[in-house]
């Protein structure tokens, strides 16, 4: 017994060392924020204040302070909404779908993407309210027994949206939270008793101790939530796409929209993950955890979805031509050559042409170029929604009503505010919660740590 125990002890000590390092490295991100963080926070809060004031101004005066020009009855707010819902998608894709597929590279990046998901849904969820003409009656959309004996209209894609978004928010928050519990417990155990952090972690960890019983139910629940979240991810953006596809507006009324939007959502979501990951890795010195191997995998996902989106654009154009519908044709011709051609070509360039650079493995593993490309994709995907929504509406059935829409400062203010809102939560999160999954990183050590462990064992 003594003999067999010895190598195990050596191996064990190496493992414990690496485990301690994982805990320490991840929890190091929670250290007192530096000047940069405060500067960013100040910036973000300023943006948020601007957004909030813009919204208050809008509520006070009416939606007319935005740039709406009939027939463009939906504009930047819905663009922002779809953009943020799209961003929200890759998080659950990475955390749930890749979990089910046991894709190992997910471990290091899934917490960040999941966080992004939740905050992006929180941001997206604001826009249906912001864009309402009478936001103070938003509760008319909620099915609750009321004195008027009235119910919402379940035929409306907006009610589907209401259900889809609130379900998605609930489930993805649950998923994030459940994943966080063991890590919060780890943070709790490292926190100094009596501090607010300790109190917070004690509360949020729910008294987690990592017992066999807890882990057993936990693992099951995690699996089922992943199982539930997977069709949900695909459905949510399908439902969002039906906001458009169920309408008869040429340029919206298209069967391809659901898969096309899902692909687009993952495309934009992955891009946003990269956008967030690159600076985070740098700032928190997480090079040992997030390697170019991770980047390469994300880049491949990006390339794949870019190709799907590219294909969808092509098919849309083809069907418009092939259908023979003069209205469809007119919209797509106008899209490429009309008054919104500038936006359409930004979209084509950023979503179809620039990502073609990802065929090169050197680009795929370059942190700098991936960051740049991800920014372009973010811009491109925002413009995709802008073009789909605004250009299609501006060039609808009635030539009498054709018009040109320009956003106003209120819309820009609220858009800036939405980014600020998102980043505010993100900045708070990375300083309060472990932004990588501690337990899972220990379970599946990233390559560098595995090498370190092996080295330690060898020396012993």
């Amino acid at each position: 017994m003594e003999e067999t125990a010895r190598p195990a002890m050596t191996e064990g000590r190496a493992q414990a060392t690496v485990y301690r390092r994982v805990t320490a490295d991840v929890l190091a991100t929670l250290e007192r924020p530096g000047l940069g963080w405060f500067a960013l926070m100040a910036l973000v809060l300023t943006g948020l204040a601007f957004g909030a004031l813009s919204w208050i101004y809008q509520i006070k005066n009416g939606l007319g302070v935005a740039g709406y020009v009939p027939p463009v009855f939906w504009a930047v707010y819905i663009t922002d909404f779809v953009f943020w819902v799209g961003i929200a998608h890759s998080g659950t894709l990475i955390s749930a779908i890749l979990f089910l597929f046991r894709a190992q590279f997910r471990t290091a990046v899934y917490r960040i993407s999941e966080t992004m998901t939740v905050f992006a849904v929180m941001t997206a969820g604001l826009f249906p309210l912001i864009h309402l003409g009478r936001v103070w009656y938003f509760y008319y959309l909620i099915p609750y027994p009321n004195e008027r004996l009235l119910w919402p209209n379940f035929r409306s894609p907006l009610v589907w949206d209401f259900f889809a978004i609130s379900t998605y928010f609930t489930i993805s928050s649950l998923f994030l939270y459940i994943g966080l519990i063991p890590d919060i417990a780890a943070a709790r155990d490292r926190a100094i008793e009596g501090t607010w952090r300790h109190r917070l972690y004690s509360m949020l960890s729910l008294g987690w101790q990592g017992t066999d019983r807890q882990w057993r139910h936990y693992n099951r629940a995690y699996l089922f939530l992943a199982g539930l979240a997977t069709p949900l991810v695909l459905s949510v953006h399908s439902v969002v796409s039906w906001d458009f596809a169920m309408a008869i507006v040429p340029g919206w009324h298209s069967t391809i929209f659901a898969p096309y939007f899902v692909a687009g959502a993952i495309f934009s979501g992955v891009a946003m993950v990269i956008t967030l990951l690159v600076p985070l890795r740098k700032v928190f010195h997480l090079e040992d955890y997030i390697e170019s191997y991770h980047l390469d995998r994300l880049a491949r996902l990006l390339l794949l979805t870019s190709l799907i989106v590219f294909y969808a654009y092509a098919v849309e154009g083809f069907i418009a031509w092939y259908s023979g519908s003069e209205f469809e044709r007119a919209v797509f011709w106008d899209r490429a050559t009309g008054q919104y051609a500038w936006a359409a070509w930004i979209m084509y360039s950023c979503n179809c042409f620039i990502p073609m650079a990802l065929w090169s493995s050197r680009v795929r593993t370059s942190w700098f170029w991936m960051f740049i490309i991800s920014i372009f994709v973010n811009i491109g995907m925002w413009f995709e929604r802008f073009v789909i929504i605004i250009q299609s509406l501006a060039h609808e059935f009635e030539p009498y009503m054709w018009d040109y829409y320009r956003p106003t400062w209120v819309e820009w203010g609220i858009t800036v505010g939405s980014f600020s809102w998102f980043f505010m939560w993100f900045l708070i999160f990375i300083k309060v919660m472990p932004s990588m999954a501690i337990a899972e990183l220990k379970e599946l050590l990233p390559p560098k740590l595995k090498r370190q462990k092996e080295k330690l064992e060898g020396r012993a």
């Binding site: 509760y139 609750y144 009321n146 008027r148 004690s202 509360m203």
Partner: protein, 179 residues
Amino acid sequence: MPMASRLRRPILGTLSVLAALVSAACAEDRRVDILVEKAPEQPVLFYHTIHAGQDQIPCAYCHFSADRSEEAGIPAVGTCMGCHRFIQGSTPEFQQNIQVLMEFAADSIAIPWVRVHSVPTFVQFPHKPHVRAGVDCAECHGDVASMEVVERVAPLTMGWCIDCHRQRGAPDDCATCHY
């Protein structure tokens, strides 16, 4: 258990905000009750108990247009004076009230009666079809004849209207009242 109390606070907070929200929604349903006093003080102490109760004056004598118009009609001061030129009141209190009426009439000032029954401006409520359908005044206005001070007894909410409409086979089409 410190942790229990720590947990209880946010939960209670959330619940109370939720309750506030629900009550706000319900309040919206009952905005008449909130915004219009139920039994306001009137410029002249007018007793329906005496006019409609004791004297049995039919409602339509004063509310003259209920059977042919949207509005039930509020009697002109001249209508009051038709009788009160001769009726001075049997008690000092009545005499005093009638004196107030006389002053309005003498100064040619219309009496600013305070509204008791009010529907929102986005509701088109015509009296005529209701009267024609045989809806008794008291069904909506209560037994005014026995009210010292007129008071709103019906909730005047949409569900209340709809219930009656459905019972009587009256239309429940939105455009019946909302346009």
